[in-house]
């Protein structure tokens, strides 16, 4: 008897706990009182040397600590001065920068041309091991002209140069950096940014404090929050509990289904980002011996997939179906292109025309995409007789197989480093490199032209031609732009940006 009684009681307690789990915590206390913003990430930030960071978590922290020469105002699309007061192209491959005077580093050192030269000339060397070579391989050398004037000599024309200088290439204090290197700057980050790092347990916990001597006229000025505490909490449910009980004020990357449940207790904001999901087709795979090599087959696959339903069901929020291999928010992403409506009958007709009236089997690897989306694509294609052999892999394995030309279709996503320019994604996948399994010479020519021209008109015209051809040839099945759900304390004002760089210096309490 005791046994049944205990079991019943246990179930009752558990059920009670479960039902109250989501109905509690309506009174968000937040740390408005102590003016401290409490933040949690699920993934561990990398060491705080921007040049070696791949993950957003570390980059967000770094952007609060360090500044670049320029800054991009995403609301207006304008590049504005930051550590450099003004800049100009003095030749096809040279740029000159006039630096701002009176800027102080967190350690009290003055910012001068030596810091720019010392930082950039170090990170461009191959031994330094900058994570993304594309971010610095266009710099040949940097010269000091006087204490507040530098010249950058480019090694090749690169249209993304200004975008890169806009906060992606921070300036470190040269004396400290020369002595301590990458490991030193990561252990003791010193920058000119709006927040300075007070303490860190790398990967676990970070505390930042507002930097009172942050320079006048900075695009990151006006911070009102005194302290920011960042912790790593891997389990989303634990983050929700902390957010609802008021010990967290800011979390992100909340899965869509859970975002809906949180909405009634805390602020939930969905914001579109640069990252897009796509199915890449590889006409070159298996030496061109797959049905994918036939344009009609590729078009049929897109017609057969009900992308609208997939986006509504699994992405939600600010996500929309795409027709282009780039994000419409990016420069050069032409939207006047061939589109493919959901039309299974047309798909069947195209398949029959291509000689596949009875369908065929095809392998598709998906990586870093929710399994239901891949299964939905497979279900839609099954309706027109195409049997997808689905295979979920880590991104590294998937892209490895893709580069080895062993994969006719790859379902994944790409983030363009959060940059609002089509240059990166198009050139990577269609510019003739290792990820380009289309190897369309015409595309590669247009893209090279667009990537290296300094005239925006020329660039936009060539990207437009490329985007149109990719859509017409159905080289990709673009899926949707990603969105990020943020969970915020009810007291917090926070504006998300499509580049996924949280700007806590612009956050405030209500």
């Amino acid at each position: 008897m005791t046994q049944t009684f205990s079991l019943k009681r246990l179930t009752a307690v558990a059920a009670l706990a479960a039902s109250t789990a989501l109905s509690l915590g309506t009174a968000a206390l937040a740390d408005k009182a102590s003016n401290t913003l409490n933040v949690a990430f699920a993934a561990e930030p990398e060491p705080l040397d921007t040049y070696k960071i791949a993950g957003r978590q570390g980059l967000i922290l770094a952007r609060h600590i360090y500044d670049g020469l320029l800054y991009k105002n995403l609301d207006t699309g304008e590049i504005v001065p930051a550590l450099a007061e003004s800049w100009e192209f003095t030749g096809p491959l040279t740029m000159e920068f006039t630096l701002r005077q009176g800027v102080k580093f967190h350690n009290g050192a003055d910012f001068t041309a030596d810091d720019v030269v010392g930082t950039l000339n170090t990170v461009i060397t191959p031994e330094y091991g900058t994570r993304y070579s594309i971010s610095v391989d266009w710099i040949d050398s940097v010269e000091k002209l006087d204490d507040y004037k530098v010249r950058i000599n480019m090694s090749k024309p690169f249209a993304g140069a200004i975008e890169m200088l806009a906060d992606a290439l921070p300036i470190y204090p040269h004396a400290f950096f020369a002595e301590n290197g990458s490991a030193g700057i990561a252990a003791t980050p010193i920058g000119t940014g709006p927040y300075k790092l007070i303490s860190q347990e790398p990967g676990i916990r970070y505390e930042m404090e507002r930097f009172e001597d942050h320079y006048e006229g900075s695009p990151k000025s006006g911070a009102t929050i005194d302290k920011i505490t960042v912790r790593t909490i891997p389990e989303m449910n634990t983050q929700f509990a902390e957010l609802m009980s008021g010990s967290l004020d800011w979390i992100w990357r909340i899965p869509p289904d859970q975002a809906a449940q949180l909405e009634s207790r805390v602020q939930v904001i969905s914001a579109p980002i640069m990252r897009i999901g796509y199915v890449g087709f590889a006409p070159e795979a298996m030496a061109g011996e797959t049905p994918i090599a036939d344009k009609r087959v590729r078009q049929a696959l897109i017609h057969a997939t009900n992308r609208g339903a997939i986006v509504d069901a699994f992405a939600g929020g600010a996500s929309k179906v795409l027709n282009t291999p780039c994000n419409p928010a990016q420069f050069g992403c032409e939207q006047d292109v061939t589109t493919y409506d959901y039309d299974p009958e047309k798909a069947k007709a195209l398949l029959a025309e291509a000689g596949y009236a009875d369908g065929f089997d095809l392998e598709m690897v998906f990586a870093a995409m929710p399994r239901p989306t891949a299964e939905a694509v497979a279900a839609d294609l099954a309706n027109v007789g195409v049997t997808l052999e689905l295979n979920e892999q880590q991104y590294a394995s998937g892209i490895g197989k893709w580069r080895a030309k062993e994969l006719p279709a790859f379902f994944s996503n790409w983030g363009s480093y959060g940059i609002g320019d089509t240059a990166f994604i198009l050139s990577n996948f269609f510019g003739g490199g290792a990820d380009d399994l289309v190897q369309d010479a015409e595309l590669a020519t247009w893209l090279t032209e667009a990537d290296t021209a300094s005239d925006r008109e020329v660039r936009s015209e060539n990207y437009s031609k490329a985007v149109k051809k990719i859509a017409e040839e159905a080289y990709w099945m673009p899926m949707y732009n990603f969105n990020v759900n943020y969970g915020l304390s009810n007291d917090l004002n926070f504006t998300p940006h499509p580049d996924e760089f949280a700007r806590w210096w612009a956050a405030s309490w209500k």
């Binding site: 005791t2 993950g55 009980s245 990820d435």
Partner: protein, 306 residues
């Protein structure tokens, strides 16, 4: 006894070597580490640079021998992700795991053994029934669920303990309760069945017949014999508590070795993964060897044919 110990140690060494070689090979089966380190935005050129920098382009056997060679001299290498020595990271993270593991182990033992003994004294009595409920629910409820419920009730609802993190000792309360709860059932059941067997033997009956008080019968005669399987099981349990608390560490945001191993696997931080696997396999081997030796001390029959 000496030859027994040296045999056990040799086997232990071979186990460690096999585990490290297998895990090294498996890391490369799961995908090109260079591409994984380059990240999702990394181009083929970036991956190539990483491949060169970390020597992933060399034959696997050369890389393994290189690694084992430095490991034998105590150099476990640099973490690729954190860019600091592996020993430093593991040193930073081991404290949490060791604290959590040992305390949970002690709590589990202190509850499981007396409860098992009490249950064995009156099979099907009310203590035995309660013990059964604990055992069944402990084995049936998933630990992440129990952890989250504990957070909701005691962290969010009552606010008695911190929801997550190990900044204060209070942060350990819930994780220890949840973790030890999962170690209790097996320990308790093996104590109970061992005791029931022993209590039915002739020598126990003899001890009671000569008028020894029950507590002396249990502590001097019964428990010492019933404890043999418990020692072996406890060694494995302690190994699991020290190595396998990935779920608990994640739910309560404790930054221990379990989570470090898991995260390092996901980001292809091979030196860290290899080091943790080596340390944990060593730990298991040491614990089971200790248990074997302890059992041999307790029971001369196990010392083999010498």
């Amino acid at each position: 006894m000496l030859s027994f110990i040296s045999k056990r140690l040799l086997v232990a060494l071979l186990v460690c070597l096999t585990v490290s070689a297998l895990s090294f090979g498996l890391m490369f089966v799961s995908g090109d580490p260079a591409i994984a380190i380059a990240g999702s935005g990394g181009r083929a050129e970036d991956a190539e640079a990483i491949r060169q920098a970390y020597g992933f382009d060399r034959p696997l056997i050369v890389q393994y021998l290189d690694w084992i060679g430095s490991a034998l001299t105590g150099n476990l290498g640099q973490s690729i992700y954190f860019n600091v020595p592996v020993t430093e990271i593991i040193g930073n993270r081991a404290g949490v795991t060791l604290t959590l593991g040992f305390i949970s182990f002690l709590v589990a033992l202190v509850i499981a053994v007396p409860l098992g003994v009490a249950a064995a004294l009156r099979p099907n009595g009310w203590i035995d029934r309660i013990a059964l409920v604990i055992a069944v629910s402990g084995q049936a409820i998933p630990s992440f669920w129990l952890g989250l419920m504990a957070i909701v009730v005691f962290g969010v609802w009552y606010g008695w303990v911190p929801i997550s993190g190990a900044d204060t000792w209070q942060g350990y309360i819930l994780p220890v309760i949840v973790l030890s709860y999962y170690a209790i059932p097996e320990l308790m059941r093996i104590t109970r069945s061992g005791m029931i067997d022993v209590l039915a033997t002739d020598y126990v009956r003899a001890a009671r017949a000569k008028g020894l008080p029950m507590h002396l019968v249990i502590s001097r005669h019964a428990l010492r014999n019933a404890v043999l399987p418990l020692v072996s099981l406890a060694a494995v349990q302690l190994g699991q508590l020290l190595s396998g608390s990935i779920v608990i560490e994640s739910v309560f945001a404790l930054n221990g070795l379990g989570r470090l191993a898991w995260e390092s696997l996901l980001r292809s931080d091979l030196p860290v993964v290899q080091a943790i696997i080596l340390i944990l396999s060593l730990l298991y081997v040491v614990l089971t060897t200790l248990a074997d030796i302890l059992n041999a001390v307790l029971d001369p029959r196990l010392r083999g044919g010498s």
